[in-house]
Every structure is written in structure tokens, then in C-alpha cells.
């Protein structure tokens, strides 16, 4: 497929003129325009904040941050050992998430295990739960007497819990996995669901075993989704702060994210930014490595225009063990933390499950003796307003990031842009993950705080929240669009080009409908991420525009833990509701419901 195919050239034009026409046409081809547009948006939303970050570390006062980090007596504890820990956590999260998410996706989409619909729903929820809920759930079971205070269930039953199981890398990796395997699950399930049933049937007819079918047909097809999921899980695992802080600090297990956060909160911004640049470079190298892996997978486009439902695989005697494992996974990662979260909002005393339960923090009136007279969250009008703002923000960002993500990923996977440009765009679309939210927020104030030409200052407006939100969630949107797009065969699009369909028409009639499920998955991810994100919005919101994540933060900074948890339950409920509604919309096209 070359550009000439898209540009029918009049035969009677003289060669020189033809060449010129071709160049002009090429420059104005919608695809090129789209690429330019995508780059422009990336420039505003990603490059500019990134340059701000770099600039800050290069000013005269801050330059020494580089030597402090890389070549001083601090380097070992500030950079190298946290870096090693971060990489280990990122890698463990990526691998475990892919294995668990992939396994569940296979169970839900390809098998006929009883209750797989519910498993499929529950498996999407951990991502919607806040990190601390999962860490708290871990503590409520495994906490030992290292810190003091109350202990976990096991210790209370008299089972000694060793420190390595209660604190440090093992619980961190496992709780991060419990949190982020849903990313892999959603992406892989969407890809698997689009595997052509005819192919599987053909494999079965020729006598291939279940395992062989899975390995040789399904696996290659879902590879892009697996890589996307693994990359997201890696980035989340590396940048998550709460989990290593809760479970790692007591045994002094530091990651780059805890060092980075620490540098920023103790006023050493330059060092924090240097550390975040290190993260970005490391991630870039991992991106590069992974693009080599996916680069050879281009040919496995599965949506070729023909129908064909995925057929259920019968597992025989393996059905029950597989079902059991699946149920245990979703119960431990969704139901348990969910219960812990709800219960902790009901406890009379902070996270003390033996102190008795109360609904005061939900529906109580102002009582000066409790939480300085704060009203229960459901009777606090500010919470209602915050809920509305949060949902609206989530939707706006999901739509914005969704469209942008599709544009960027179309340019990356489909256009004839030079390789280096695509690589750069692909990397840039990953970077926002690794810029600490608070730094991104500050960069946006710097960028949009003052009026620019005819555009008024956006500071304190809803628009700046949406812009920052889109910037922060580009990674999700681009990754999910890429894995969705990679399954749409180029043949269909090329046929459309032959038939004279322009880019807009192709987008509307082919790309959008065929990738709808994947894009929807991405939009839900973005929505959920936005609804619970705190660090980004905390600098940008104003009291006139409260959002829920900021309310939880305010409550918890005042030690009104139950109220913070109650609001977190609301956030989780919104996220879960969004996930369920999204499923409804997908409705008909869910193979595991129809077979």
C-alpha cells in the first residue's frame, strides 16, 4: 500500500507537473493534516509541560540536582536502589497482570465456565478501586506486629506472619497486580472477543487441541493487546506512590515514586523532576524494546469484514479447577477490598473493625464531637455538587482523550509518516504517565494561567481541568485505540480507499464501528482514571468547583478517615457503574453472552 493508491492522478498531466501536484496533494491529504494536528496537540499537552520540567532542572540553582542524583554519596539510596526496586515492581506488575488478566480474559471470552459473565464484570472493578483500598485489604489480612497497633486477621488467629509477607516487595507487587490486572483483562478480553470464530472452528476441525488453538491462533491475535496492557501495568506499577508508601516504608523499601514524591513534598523540586525524567527515559527504553516485539505482529489483523462468533471452548474435567481459580482471583481482588473499603467507612473508630459500626459518617447530622462537626457525606450538599462535577469531568475527558487517542494511534499505526516520527509520537503519548501529577498540574497553570493572544486565562475554569485530564490520560486512550486498531485489517480500509472513501468517511464507516468496543474500553479506563485521580487536579480545582477526589484528600488530611473512605466508596461506585453501563452498551456484541 503506497500513497499513490490514494491519489488518483490524471494520466495526461506532464510528469513535472504531476510531481508537483502529488506533493501538494500529499501535503493536504487529510491523513497528513491529522498527523499534524495530533503532533500539535501533543506539543501543547505533553511536550510543553515536559520542557518546563527539564528547564526547571537546568536553571543555575537547580543544576546540581543532576549530580546529587547521579554522582554523589546519595546516589545509591536516592537513585540506584529505588530505581532497581521500581523496575522490579514494574516488571512484576506487568508480568503478573498479563498472566492473570490474560487468563481471566480467556476464561471469560473463550470458555463456558459457569458465571463467567459475572467474573468478567468483577475483573474490571479492581482498577476502579483506589490503591489504598487494596493495600488496606492486604494489611487487614497480613499485618503483623512490626509497626504496633492493631494486627491483621492472620496474626489475630495466632498465625505468625513473617515480615517479608506483611511488608516490602512481595505484598507491593501482589497488591499492584491486584489493582492493575484489570487493565490487561479489559484490553485482552476486547481483543479476544474479536478473534474470528471461523479461525477457531477451522483449528478445531483440523484436530488442534484447545491449548494449541489458544497458543497458535488466539495468542498472536491478542499480542498487541497484551503488550499494551503490560506497558500500562508497568507504567502504573512504576509510578504508583500509595502502595509502596503504605507497605514498603515500614521496612524502608523505597521506589523511585516514593523518592520522587518525597523530594517534591520536602521542597526539593529539582531533584524530584530529575527522578521523574529518569523514569521517563527508562520507560522510553522499555517502549522501544516492546515496539520491536509488536512491530512484527502487524499481520494479525482479525477483523476482516466477515462475521463469525467466537465459539466457547469446552474444558472437560478442567472446568471446575479453572472456575475455582478465577473465582478466587476476583474475590480476593474485588470483593475483599470492596468490603474492606465499605466497612472502613462504617467503623466507629478509624479502620478498627472491632469498634462497632455506625452510619454517622454517611448520613449523620453535624455533631461537634465527631470529625469537627462535619456532616455525613450523603447529607453534605458539597458532595452532591462534587459528584456532578466529577462525572462531568470524567465524561468530557473520556470523550476528548478518546478522539485524540484514536487520531494519534491512527497516525502511528496507519499513516506513512516517517518511522522516527511515529516512534516519537508513540513515546510522547506514553510520557504523561511518568510526569508526576502535581508537576503536570503546575505546568498547566504556568501554561494556561495567563491569557495567550486572544485566548483568555483558563486558570480556575473547567476547561483547564479537562485539558489537563486529557493530557494525563493520553496513555490510556492511545494504548487502547492502538490495540483496537491493530485488529482491523488494512484490506478493508484499502478497499474503501479504492472505492473513493475519504479519511472522514473511512473513520466514520469503518474504523469507528469496528474499533468501537476497544475504544469504549479505553474511554471507560480514562473515565475511571479521571474520576479517582487526585494529584493532577489538586492544584487546578477551586472551591467553586469541588471534585470528589479532592474531597477525599481533604477529609483524610484532617484524619476524618471514615468520611474519606465513604467518599472513596462513592468514587468506586461511580467507576463501577460506568463499567457496567459500558458493558450494557456493548451488549449484543458480547460473545460470551450469546454462545
Amino acid at each position: 500500500m503506497t500513497t499513490t493508491q490514494q491519489i488518483p492522478v490524471a494520466p495526461e498531466t506532464p510528469p513535472s507537473r504531476r510531481r508537483l501536484t502529488r506533493v501538494t496533494r500529499l501535503a493536504t491529504t487529510p491523513t497528513v493534516l491529522m498527523a499534524a494536528g495530533a503532533i500539535a496537540v501533543l506539543a501543547i499537552l505533553v511536550i510543553a509541560p515536559l520542557l518546563g520540567l527539564i528547564n526547571t532542572t537546568l536553571t543555575a540553582d537547580n543544576r546540581e540536582a543532576w549530580t546529587d542524583v547521579f554522582a554523589s554519596r546519595l546516589s545509591r539510596n536516592l537513585l540506584w536502589s529505588p530505581l532497581a526496586n521500581s523496575l522490579m515492581m514494574g516488571l512484576a506488575t506487568a508480568v503478573l497482570s498479563t498472566v492473570i488478566g490474560g487468563f481471566l480474559a480467556w476464561v471469560v471470552v473463550m470458555t463456558r465456565i459457569p458465571g463467567r459473565g459475572i467474573i468478567g464484570l468483577l475483573a474490571t472493578i479492581p482498577f476502579a478501586l483506589p490503591s489504598f483500598a487494596l493495600a488496606l485489604a492486604w494489611e487487614s489480612v497480613f499485618r503483623n506486629d512490626l509497626i504496633g497497633g492493631s494486627q491483621g486477621i492472620l496474626a489475630n488467629l495466632g498465625v505468625p506472619v513473617p515480615d517479608w509477607l506483611a511488608w516490602g516487595p512481595v505484598p507491593i507487587a501482589l497488591t499492584l497486580t491486584a489493582h492493575y490486572f484489570s487493565l490487561s483483562f479489559m484490553l485482552i478480553a476486547a481483543a479476544l472477543a474479536s478473534v474470528n470464530g471461523d479461525l477457531l472452528e477451522a483449528a478445531e476441525l483440523t484436530g488442534a487441541s484447545t491449548l494449541r488453538t489458544a497458543r497458535q491462533i488466539a495468542l498472536p491475535v491478542v499480542a498487541p493487546a497484551m503488550v499494551s496492557g503490560a506497558l500500562l501495568a508497568f507504567a502504573e506499577g512504576v509510578s504508583n506512590f500509595v502502595t509502596p508508601a503504605l507497605l514498603g516504608l515500614p521496612v524502608r523499601y523505597h521506589t523511585l515514586s516514593t523518592r520522587l514524591y518525597g523530594s517534591i513534598t520536602t521542597g526539593d523540586y529539582a531533584r524530584g523532576y530529575v527522578l521523574s525524567l529518569v523514569l521517563i527515559v527508562v520507560a522510553a527504553m522499555i517502549m522501544f524494546a516492546s515496539s520491536r516485539v509488536t512491530g512484527s505482529r502487524r499481520s494479525f489483523a482479525t477483523i476482516t469484514g466477515k462475521g463469525g462468533r467466537a465459539r466457547g471452548v469446552t474444558l472437560g474435567p478442567w472446568a471446575w479447577p479453572v472456575a475455582l481459580v478465577s473465582w478466587v482471583i476476583v474475590a480476593a481482588t474485588t470483593i475483599l477490598p470492596g468490603l474492606v473499603l465499605v466497612a472502613s467507612s462504617l467503623t466507629r473508630r478509624t479502620n478498627d473493625f472491632t469498634s462497632g459500626l455506625t452510619l454517622h459518617y454517611w448520613i449523620g447530622d453535624s455533631d461537634p464531637a465527631i470529625a469537627q462537626g462535619q456532616r455525613g457525606v450523603l447529607v453534605n450538599p458539597q458532595i452532591g455538587e462534587a459528584t456532578w462535577n466529577t462525572v462531568l469531568l470524567g465524561i468530557c475527558v473520556a470523550v476528548g482523550a478518546g478522539i485524540l487517542g484514536l487520531m494519534i494511534s491512527y497516525v502511528i499505526t496507519r499513516s506513512q509518516a516517517p518511522r522516527w516520527l511515529k516512534g516519537t509520537m508513540s513515546l510522547l503519548s506514553f510520557v504523561p504517565f511518568l510526569i508526576p501529577g502535581i508537576a503536570l498540574g503546575a505546568a498547566f497553570i504556568a501554561q494556561f494561567g495567563a491569557p495567550i493572544g486572544p485566548f483568555p486565562s483558563l486558570y480556575g475554569t473547567f476547561a483547564i481541568l479537562v485539558l489537563a485530564g486529557v493530557a494525563a490520560t493520553i496513555p490510556f486512550a492511545v494504548r487502547s485505540a492502538t490495540s483496537a486498531l491493530s485488529q482491523v485489517s488494512r484490506d478493508i480500509e484499502e478497499s474503501a480507499v479504492m472505492a473513493g472513501a475519504g479519511l472522514g468517511r473511512r473513520m466514520r464507516s469503518i474504523i469507528a464501528p469496528l474499533t468501537a468496543r476497544g475504544l469504549f474500553t479505553g474511554a471507560v479506563l480514562v473515565f475511571v482514571q479521571m474520576v479517582r485521580d487526585l494529584s493532577l487536579v489538586v492544584l487546578l480545582v477551586t472551591p467553586a468547583m469541588p471534585v470528589l477526589a479532592v474531597m477525599t484528600y481533604q477529609y483524610s488530611s484532617e484524619n476524618f478517615t471514615q468520611m474519606a473512605n465513604a467518599v472513596t466508596v462513592i468514587i468506586a461506585a461511580i467507576s463501577v457503574a460506568a463499567t457496567i453501563i459500558a458493558r450494557r452498551f456493548e451488549g449484543q456484541s458480547q460473545p460470551w453472552k450469546n454462545t
Binding site: 493536504t28 493534516l33 491529522m34 499534524a36 494536528g37 500539535a40 496537540v41 506539543a43 501543547i44 511536550i47 510543553a48 509541560p49 520542557l51 518546563g52 527539564i54 528547564n55 526547571t56 536553571t59 554523589s72 554519596r73 546519595l74 539510596n77 512490626l146 509497626i147 504496633g148 497497633g149 492493631s150 508508601a245 516504608l249 515500614p250 516514593t258 514524591y261 518525597g262 517534591i264 513534598t265 521542597g267 526539593d268 523540586y269 473508630r349 478509624t350 478498627d352 464531637a369 469537627q372 503546575a442 505546568a443 497553570i445 504556568a446 501554561q447 494556561f448 494561567g449 495567563a450 493572544g453 486565562s457 486558570y459 480556575g460 475519504g502 492544584l539 472551591p543 484524619n559 478517615t561
Partner: protein, 394 residues
């Protein structure tokens, strides 16, 4: 070219130069441009001379005042303020000190609309960065000048002191604190039983560590009192304070990520052998609600910890300069013994009013009995990053 293409083209043509200009302006670094040299204008200087009635009149003309506050108690202040001055709308933003610092700098750099008043802790950063860069200005209401010790009105006005002190479990130790000398914390008996928030992630705990280093002479004396011999320093430490911190870390010090975890670990009732830990004295007010038995370790030599100021300051370029001054005036409390409605949200045992004419709340040891070190923000700022670096090598 189809109409669609023209539209696309137009959009891109519009977007490109915009994005380029954004890139050009966006990568800004905090520079000490105009704001550094900015001093209150003559008009503002005049405001400082106004009588209370004149100030109220001017403030009512302005109508609103925006306050950034590091505590959510600003909501209670808002209610009280609007009751006293019904024609002025106080808008309180609850923003942590760290975020206030980032936000105030970013707003000053971009010239965006900002707050009128900042109620902010994290004194070392405030003094060395925000005041020096001209982002915050000091305003001392004339009526409180005489009732404030100089350190609490210069270089910045403070309305109260908070604490980070050693606390113990009074249920397990009804006879009083088990710790009479800080060096006990480095002994085998307390191995793995001292808890605090990691000073590498929280500024106020870093201030505590910094103060211990600054008070090295007192720490050396306490060492001699405890062990009966003069302290001998390791090669990699420079003073008794650093030696103490090094020994403390080596003795299984448990670091956590927030003060509530410390309170819970130290204070939870029903423990046979509870740890001790550094936290806020005022958190003792939650004892009943949370089932804790937290008590401050009084009589610990050389000192149980630190007190540090909460600053009330004018933000440079305040849109409502008169109302800002009135709000600051209000936050300093009235002339009654408890400070009246403006100070009431902060009238908590374990926090200490800076005004000498407000009585410290009952149910907490008086400030001189607590004998905590009161940090010197400027001196702290000087060596704080060195102490942070030292901690990173442990």
C-alpha cells in the same frame, strides 16, 4: 478539496501557531521577575495604617476575600467571619502547604488570579522561598503588635504553634513516659519500637530531624547524662545530633507514611508492649473518639520534640487587599482569653496560641512544661537540605 478538508485544514492552521506559541511560553521556570522586587504599593502601605473601622469599610467595598489554608478548619473560620462581617464573602480553599507553595509560585509566574491570604505551615520553605521571592508579604494587625513576641511577627505573622513531639501510650505506662532521655530510643530495649513518619516524605518530620542536629550540644549533654561518658562520634557523622539519628535508624526505627499510622501504632489501647513515636500533641484530642491512649512524653531530656509556627500572610498582588488584612486580623483572634470566634477553630489542647494574652487551652501541658524546641525557620532552612541528604545515606 471537500468542505470537510477545508475545515480540517483551517483547524490545523489555527492550532499549529497556537501550539508553537504555547511551547514557547509554556516551558517557563520560576524566575524572580517582577514579583521579587515588588513591594506593597503606596496604596497598600496606606491600608496598613487604617483604623479598624476604615479597614472594615474598605473591605466591605471589596466584598470578598480568598484564603488558601493548610487546614480544613478554614470552613469554621469562614462561618464565623461571615457572621461577624455579613457583607464580606470569605472563600476558603483547603490546600496543603506543599501544594500551596507550588500553586502560589505557579500563579505568581503566570500572573494568574491568586489568593488574598495564605494560611500556611512549612515555615523553612515559606521564609526562604516565598518571602524572598516576594510572593508573600507580612502584615501585622496593629492591635496585636504588643501581644506578640517578636519571632511570631517578624519576618512573618504566626497565629499558633503546632508540635511534633514524642508520644507514648498512657494505658501501658500509667506512671508517665517510659522515655526520660531521647538516647533510650537508640538502646536495645526500644529496638523496632519507635515509629515516625518518614522525614524523606514529610517536611515537618524533616524539620524535627533538622532541629535535633541543630541541638547537637544538648544531645551530647543528654548522651553523657544517659551513658555516663562523653559521646564518641563515628567517622561518617559530624555531630551528636547526626550520631543520634544514625543510631536511631540502626535501631530498627519504623517509618510509616502518615501521622495517623503513628497515632494508631502508639496509641491503640490493649497493647502489651506498645511502641513510642513522634506525632502531633494535638492529636491527643482524638483519644476518646478513636480509642487511643496517646500522651506527650513530658520530661524527656533534652526535649521531646519541636514546635513550629502556622503563618498568616498576605499574597502578593491580592485582588482584595483590605479584606485580606481584615481576614488576617480576624484569624489572630479577639481580645478575650480564648481568642473568640476567629481563633476558636484553633483553640485545641496541644496547639499553642502565639498571642501572650490568649490562655493556652487546658488539658495540655503549658508550653514551658512541654519544653519542646521552637524551630528557627531561617536557621532550619540553612541546613535542612543537608540533613535530608544525611538521612538519604542511612
Amino acid at each position: 478539496m471537500s468542505p470537510l478538508n477545508i475545515r480540517t485544514y483551517a483547524a490545523v492552521a489555527l492550532a499549529l501557531p497556537l501550539s508553537i506559541s504555547l511551547v514557547a511560553c509554556g516551558g517557563g521556570t520560576p524566575t524572580d521577575g517582577d514579583s521579587a522586587d515588588a513591594t506593597p504599593t503606596d496604596a497598600n502601605a496606606d491600608l496598613n495604617e487604617l483604623s479598624h473601622e476604615e479597614l472594615v469599610a474598605r473591605a466591605e467595598e471589596e466584598g470578598t476575600v480568598t484564603v488558601y489554608s493548610f487546614t480544613s478548619r478554614i470552613a469554621a473560620v469562614e462561618e464565623a467571619f461571615e457572621e461577624q462581617y455579613p457583607n464580606i464573602d470569605l472563600i476558603g480553599h483547603d490546600i496543603s502547604s506543599t501544594e500551596q507553595i507550588t500553586r502560589l509560585k505557579a500563579e505568581a509566574d503566570s500572573g494568574a488570579e491568586t489568593a488574598d491570604v495564605a494560611y500556611i505551615s512549612d515555615a523553612p520553605v515559606v521564609i526562604t522561598e516565598l518571602i524572598d521571592q516576594g510572593i508573600l508579604h507580612n502584615y501585622v494587625p496593629p492591635r496585636v503588635e504588643d501581644v506578640l513576641p517578636e519571632e511570631y511577627r517578624d519576618p512573618m505573622l504566626a497565629n499558633r504553634l503546632s508540635t511534633k513531639v514524642l508520644m507514648y501510650n498512657e494505658e501501658a505506662h500509667p506512671q508517665g513516659s517510659p522515655i526520660t532521655n531521647l538516647w533510650q530510643l537508640t538502646d536495645e530495649e526500644w529496638n523496632g519500637r519507635v515509629v515516625m513518619v518518614d522525614p524523606a516524605v514529610r517536611g515537618d518530620y524533616l524539620d524535627l530531624m533538622t532541629e535535633i542536629v541543630r541541638q547537637s550540644d544538648a544531645m551530647a549533654q543528654a548522651y553523657q547524662d544517659h551513658y555516663g561518658s562523653e559521646i564518641e562520634l563515628d567517622d561518617d557523622v559530624e555531630n551528636a545530633g547526626e550520631q543520634f539519628i544514625k543510631n536511631l535508624y540502626a535501631n530498627g526505627l519504623v517509618l510509616v507514611d502518615d501521622t495517623d499510622s503513628v497515632n494508631q501504632a502508639v496509641g491503640a489501647k490493649g497493647q502489651d508492649n506498645p511502641p513510642v513515636g513522634f506525632t502531633s500533641y494535638s492529636d491527643r484530642r482524638d483519644n476518646e473518639e478513636e480509642g487511643w491512649a496517646l500522651q506527650a512524653s513530658l520530661g524527656t531530656a533534652p526535649s521531646p520534640g519541636i514546635t513550629f509556627p502556622a503563618y498568616v500572610s498576605l499574597v502578593d498582588g491580592a485582588a482584595h487587599p483590605a479584606a485580606a488584612r481584615l481576614a488576617i486580623d480576624f484569624l489572630m483572634g479577639d481580645d478575650s482569653a480564648t481568642g473568640g470566634p476567629g481563633y476558636e477553630p484553633f483553640y485545641v489542647p496541644g496547639d499553642y496560641p502565639t498571642r501572650t494574652d490568649i490562655e493556652a487551652p487546658a488539658d495540655a501541658a503549658p508550653l514551658d512544661e512541654l519544653a519542646a524546641w521552637d524551630i528557627d525557620p531561617e536557621a532550619t532552612a540553612e541546613i535542612r537540605s543537608d540533613v535530608a541528604d544525611f538521612l538519604l545515606t542511612l
